[in-house]
Each structure stands twice: as structure tokens, then as C-alpha cells.
């Protein structure tokens, strides 16, 4: 498994971080706004944001005054595509498995 995907999956493997990402799908936010729904401290939220930044999932706009954190979807698309390729790969094969089994069944003269 690629290292980038491991980083993405590890970043997603925490409920607080996933909640942060979901909030960011509604639009950019400040660190304080992101921390607001949680019972944890601001340093803890900052630590989570750092993990998300390192995974490339959150971009901190240093120059924007009021909305410094935003979501970057590219790593999620990579993760989606990575899993999707296997789904397609096996899906196609299972179609052909069905055709092969059906041909075998008809060869045997079974009538269903």
C-alpha cells in the first residue's frame, strides 16, 4: 500500500479528525470555530489539525484573516479511487465468472 494512502487512512482513523473534516466540507473555518463543538482543549484540536495538514487534507491559509483552515479533497479522491479500482476489477471478473458458470451449467444439460 502506498505511503500516501497510509497517511490518509491514518489521518481519517480518528473520530475527532473526521468530524473536523466534515465541518470543513461546509466551508473554511478558524481553529477556534473548529474546536468549538468538542469537549477537548484547543491544543488537542491543533494537534489533530497538524495531522490533517501533514496528510494534505487540510490547508491552513496563513494570509486569510478570518478563515484559515480549509479542506483539500485530493487525498480523499485518491483513497476513493484506490478502493474503487479493486471493486471494478473484481466486479468485471465476477461477471465473467457468472458467464462461465452459466456455460458450464448449460453444457451439463441442466434445465432450471
Amino acid at each position: 500500500m502506498q505511503d500516501d494512502l497510509s497517511t490518509t487512512f491514518a489521518a481519517l482513523a480518528d473520530p475527532t479528525r473526521r468530524a473536523i473534516l466534515m465541518r470543513l466540507t461546509e466551508g473554511p473555518a478558524t481553529v477556534n470555530e473548529l474546536a468549538e463543538p468538542f469537549d477537548t482543549t484547543l491544543p488537542t484540536i491543533s494537534r489533530h489539525l497538524k495531522v490533517l495538514e501533514e496528510a494534505g487534507l487540510v490547508i491552513k491559509e496563513r494570509t486569510a484573516q478570518f478563515r484559515p483552515c480549509r479542506l483539500e479533497v485530493a487525498p480523499l479522491q485518491v483513497a476513493d479511487q484506490w478502493i474503487e479500482q479493486y471493486r471494478q476489477f473484481f466486479g468485471e471478473r465476477f461477471d465473467r465468472l457468472g458467464a462461465q458458470l452459466e456455460a458450464m451449467r448449460q453444457d451439463k444439460g441442466e434445465d432450471k
Binding site: 500500500m1 497510509s6 487512512f9 491514518a10 481519517l12 482513523a13 480518528d14 473520530p15 473526521r18 466534515m22 466540507t25 466551508g27 479542506l71 479533497v73 480523499l76 479522491q77 483513497a79 476513493d80 478502493i83 479493486y86 471493486r87 473484481f90 466486479g91 468485471e92 471478473r93 465476477f94 465473467r96 465468472l97 457468472g98 458467464a99 462461465q100 458458470l101 452459466e102 458450464m104 451449467r105 432450471k112
Partner: protein
């Protein structure tokens, strides 16, 4: 210890009008693995099947004259006719299992007898270095399609 039943991949279910042992044979008899190749793909080498735990099944996939790779699996559980589990890939192939099986995709097949014949349930599990509880929550959030919808929402927004 990770519980392999926790969902962190995807599940595909198919119904076939033959008994489970026939479907099981289609997966494990080297002479019946033709369905695994792409349509029109030349079979330059007969599939190899070493049907034992730790053994490998290997197919040479020839996509073009200059592009071929070995795929297949390394068996983890063999319980005919109802259950077959393997790590997907091949040593030196695609996906490459040279680094070992711990980070490898796991395919779990159930061949369930139903009135119509066989219900084949195929689950593919993502590598298990993420703990069960966190992975479960991640999938509850909707890795299957959910993130795609999230991405689509963002494109519109």
C-alpha cells in the same frame, strides 16, 4: 487483535445458479480459472494453484506484448465448499505481496447455498494497521460513496 469481521473495505454479492461446490471449484481449479483473465487476454501460462494455507494461486496476466504481471492470491483459509480467504496479489506481482501479508488486501469469500444455487459474498478488506474501532467509525462516515458525495458537494459549493 484486529477483528477481520470489521468492515473497512467493501462487499460484493453475486448469485449463481449452480451449487456452492461448483463456484468453489471455479476459484480453485487451475483449469477453471479462465474467468479471471480479461476478455481476449492470451493465456500464455496455465494458472498455478497450490491449494493449502500459505500456498499461492498465480495467474500471468498479459495485457500487451510489453506489459504483463502476475496476480492471484495467498491462501489464508480453505474450507470447501463454503469459505475461501486469501490475500490478494502475488510475490513480485500486482498487488505486490513481497513485503509480507500484514499490509495486504484480504479477500473473504463465502459461498452460501440458496434455493437458486449459490450466493457468493466477496468482502475485500483494506490493510489492518488501522484499529477496528476507528476503522468502523471511518466507514460509518461513509468511505463507500460517502467521501465521493462529499467531494461532489465541494465541487458544487
Amino acid at each position: 487483535m484486529n477483528n477481520p469481521a470489521q468492515k473497512r473495505g467493501f462487499t460484493v454479492t453475486r448469485t449463481y445458479q449452480v451449487p456452492p461446490q461448483i463456484v468453489f471449484a471455479a476459484w480453485t481449479d487451475p483449469k477453471q480459472l479462465g474467468w479471471f483473465f480479461n476478455p481476449g487476454m492470451p493465456v500464455e501460462r496455465e494458472p498455478e494453484v497450490d491449494l493449502r494455507v500459505g500456498g499461492a494461486w498465480r495467474l500471468l496476466m498479459v495485457e500487451r506484448e510489453d506489459k504483463s504481471y502476475v496476480t492471484g492470491g495467498i491462501y489464508r483459509e480453505i474450507d470447501p465448499p463454503g469459505r475461501l480467504v486469501f490475500n490478494f496479489g502475488a510475490v513480485g506481482g500486482w498487488p505486490d505481496l513481497s513485503a509480507g501479508l500484514e499490509d495486504a488486501l484480504l479477500v473473504t469469500l463465502e459461498f452460501n447455498a440458496i434455493p437458486e444455487g449459490t450466493e457468493m459474498v466477496c468482502r475485500l478488506d483494506v490493510p489492518s494497521h488501522v484499529s477496528d474501532a476507528r476503522a468502523k467509525e471511518w466507514f460509518d462516515m461513509g468511505i463507500e460513496g460517502g467521501w465521493t458525495q462529499t467531494v461532489d458537494r465541494l465541487k458544487l459549493g
